[in-house]
Symmetry: C2
């Protein structure tokens, strides 16, 4: 059921235009996946997401395992039906949250013991358990369970962790039975190029339907992140989709697409939206700013999203200042639409052999407002 095709190579960069086929439809790549942590992309309905141009969303295995529980979601027909989203879904393995939301996790060869960030109850995740949970959720693309490392970490620690992640990836592959789910492996190796190359070798030797670059955007500076991504991407097989996990800003997406990355996910557009920080073709807008108070113009005149077609900056500011719920939805619609427009521009550019334009990422800045972001 799962297929990936490179349709065209970009003349001006390593970017490639592609298409992923899944049981729930196709994904044009490079693609951005809005994050639907708890079986909802915060503040948005499935129809909102479709109208914004989203073709695939991400669900968080760790969060759904704790609430409402994967067995409940399975009994209700899986995640697609549960949340009324009939297009492709990718679930992460839960590894990232097990480590980042739990100070007191205990790692053994077998797996990780951790405490729920909600009620402190003790749980155990192994590669096999991560696969069981993801099979119950029923996403189109699922991820191997690995050990993300904190940043900064020493080379010896990263090297040791990397081999553990490889053994876990092998165990994931061993129990992967579901024909309708594609399993992606994850490359680790921190900020060390030789370790990245080593991880690529080990993970591609096991063989997966796609490959993710994990362990980036974890606190390192942007140059390092771009350097490691640019080094790692071409080491991955050309005929499989490449997914840069947890990245990033519009600029990151533009740059990494040019390195040959095909898939992205990030909470930034939705989280920023809920903080009033909005991406536009004229730069970042902080909608709280007093100067929008009586501004009848659209947030982004170049944008055709529901928010920009129907509401003024004055109205968006008013809703946000008054803590109105609709503010969160209108802002989120716009930011997701901005990200999807960026990806559409990138895909068009690859198709037409046009050089990437930083302006698509809002870098042609006329206005740029500080905000919590």
């Amino acid at each position: 059921m799962f297929k990936y095709q490179v349709l065209k190579q970009h003349r001006h960069s390593s970017a490639r235009l592609g298409q992923i086929t899944t049981p729930h439809g196709t994904i044009d790549t490079p693609a951005f996946m809005p994050v639907g942590t708890l079986a909802t992309v915060k503040a948005l309905s499935p129809e909102d997401l479709e109208l914004c141009g989203a073709q695939v969303i991400l669900g968080n295995t760790y969060h759904l395992y704790l609430r409402p529980g994967h067995e409940i979601i399975r009994s209700l027909g899986g995640l697609h039906r549960f949340m009324n989203w009939n297009k492709p879904i990718l679930t992460d393995s839960g590894g990232f949250q097990v480590f980042s939301l739990n100070q007191l996790n205990k790692v053994t060869e077998e797996g990780v013991t951790f405490k729920s960030h909600i009620d402190g109850s003790t749980h155990f995740f192994s590669p096999e358990q991560a696969m069981t949970v993801q099979q119950a959720l029923g996403a189109d693309i699922i991820m191997t369970f690995d050990e993300p490392m904190p940043y900064p970490a020493g080379k010896t620690d990263i090297a040791t962790s990397l081999t553990l992640s490889t053994r876990w990836a092998r165990r994931c592959k061993a129990v992967h039975r579901e024909e309708t789910q594609a399993l992606f492996g994850i490359v680790q190796g921190g900020m060390f190029k030789d370790l990245r190359a080593q991880s690529v070798k080990q993970i591609t030797d096991i063989g997966f339907s796609g490959y993710a670059i994990g362990g980036l955007s974890v606190g390192e500076d942007i140059e390092t992140m771009h350097d490691i991504a640019a080094y790692t991407a071409p080491l991955l097989p050309r005929e499989k989709p490449r997914y840069l996990m947890g990245v990033g800003t519009p600029q990151d997406l533009l740059a990494a697409s040019g390195m040959g990355i095909d898939m992205f996910d990030c909470v930034m557009p939705t989280r920023n939206a809920r903080n009033g920080s909005l991406f536009t073709n004229q730069g970042k807008v902080n909608i709280r700013n007093n100067r929008h108070k009586a501004d009848a113009s659209a947030l982004d005149p170049a944008c055709e999203c529901y928010t920009c077609r129907n509401y003024s900056r004055a109205y968006l500011r008013h809703l946000f200042m008054a803590d109105e719920i609709l503010a969160l939805r209108l802002n989120s619609i716009h930011n997701i639409a901005f990200y999807q427009n960026l990806m559409r521009n990138i895909r068009n550019a690859i198709r037409e052999d046009i050089p990437f334009d930083p302006a698509w990422a809002g870098l042609n800045v006329k206005e740029n407002e500080t905000g919590e972001g």
Copy 2:
């Protein structure tokens, strides 16, 4: 531009089927108006409201005067355009909030001095100022500025206040110039029938496009409220719309429609929705209840709203327990749709001369759950 027509009298009650014509379209009566306090019905978009069947919404003059300010709304083309709602709007006069949200208001013959509940700044509202603000907002139906009285209050106080409200109503009428806005007068008189009759006489002598019954649902028991409404409604001219302000429960709407009331507004459906308390044809549902945890069925199988067509009780419970923003929208859509369905049933019953059925108000209770409500 404003017109009200009685289309048919109900054979089984004093209810009447009617239609109000405004510059922004028609309203079938009896009608329920969702409350859009701050230029948004909380958690809902204009499209959501239309799909729920709402034909008219209410805006709060007091709140809009403070945020974002009526002059800003005027400069942006009025409330309809500001909030992207192109159907009829009714604004209250601000009187109720000036009194209920301000302990330290000072009333003189001229008007009321009060402190903003937001920043404590001092403001003055007179009948003339209430008209100025409402003209700036540009609603289709606007209300006279009156003095709502606390409950309980002595007969002498109510009588004194009533005559002040009458003088203020006269001043509102005197400055009412806007041809495109219909002005409604408000009957006061507390729980005293003779005072209600006296107020009706004074207010109808001035003459308005419609008449509201104010000062009910302020803490009195339900029998008293129904008794006063049933006494007052038939005193009002048959050829003008009658509006029972701030009412109420589905049962209240059913009963008061039977008394010949044509218009209602209440925060109950949206506020309850945000608390997880949902109206259904099988009684009230508290969506937090554990028994909905794995329930694949619709919230209300008899309901055709977006929420009931697309989501399970299990999903609604999950969203609510996880504090997800989408929960507030899905719950609000359903509760507003329930109210609009009730009004549609009432109108059909008048048209077809069918007796009102308490089941339409969810009183045919199979399940009924306690909740904060």
